[in-house]
């Protein structure tokens, strides 16, 4: 099953809402850019019914190159986290029956 991409999202705006192709493509681009900008400012993004994007500060820790075994320090960093909403988790579970793994 192929992935959903920005092109598919733009196609949906064209088909379902009648935005023209250029507007649809631009809108999809801007949608993700505004979320990136908020996270870049350190602001969590709460999209009710879908999920929340948050930020976490990670302390530095010793790491290792798994291939060579060489020790390399991992610096302190800020990372994005995502928590799916209950609604999304429920929708995923309701549809999960058909693709249960062994």
């Amino acid at each position: 099953m192929s992935s959903l991409t920005k092109a598919d999202l733009a196609e949906a705006l064209f088909n379902e809402l009648g935005l023209n192709k250029r507007e649809a493509k631009e809108f999809v681009e801007l949608f993700f850019e505004k979320i990136r900008e908020a996270l870049e400012r350190g602001e969590p993004v709460k999209l009710s019914g879908f999920g929340n994007f948050g930020l976490r500060n990670k302390n530095p820790r010793p790491g290792r190159n798994p291939k060579t075994g060489e020790e390399i320090p991992i610096s302190a960093r800020r990372v994005v986290t995502f928590r799916a909403s209950h609604k999304l988790k429920e929708r995923v579970e309701q549809n999960a029956g058909s693709r249960r793994q062994p």
């Binding site: 099953m1 192929s2 992935s3 959903l4 991409t5 920005k6 598919d8 999202l9 949906a12 705006l13 379902e16 809402l17 935005l19 507007e23 631009e26 809108f27 999809v28 801007l30 949608f31 993700f32 505004k34 979320i35 990136r36 908020a38 996270l39 870049e40 602001e43 969590p44 993004v45 709460k46 999209l47 009710s48 019914g49 879908f50 999920g51 994007f53 930020l55 960093r77 800020r78 990372v79 994005v80 986290t81 995502f82 799916a84 609604k87 999304l88 988790k89 929708r91 995923v92 579970e93 309701q94 549809n95 999960a96 693709r99 249960r100 793994q101």
Partner: protein, 92 residues
């Protein structure tokens, strides 16, 4: 930032669209993302990140109040992996 604040920001950037259309477009995008995940489809947005489902095998859990053991069935949970651009911009 909430969904309605996102809608306001997008409406300000796209003055040729009615506010109502911006609202519908944001809802449509979130609906497309949710439907894809619900049907087990991956989502890949270059520069933003990818969404996929992670499988959680069944396990024996405990009711923290009573201490009783309970069977927790297997499940799929949505997972987000930030893309390179987002990782770099958030961690400047």
């Amino acid at each position: 930032m909430t969904k309605s604040e996102l809608i306001q920001l997008l409406a300000a950037k796209q003055p040729q669209l009615d506010y109502r259309d911006v609202e519908l477009a944001v809802k449509e995008l979130l609906e497309q993302l949710s439907t894809a995940l619900a049907s087990g489809k991956r989502i890949e947005v270059r520069g933003f990140g990818s969404f996929s489902l992670h499988y959680r095998p069944p396990r024996v859990g405990r009711n923290p109040k009573t201490g009783d053991t309970v069977q927790v069935p297997d499940k799929h949970v949505p997972h987000f992996k930030p893309g390179k651009e987002l990782r770099e911009r958030v961690d400047d």
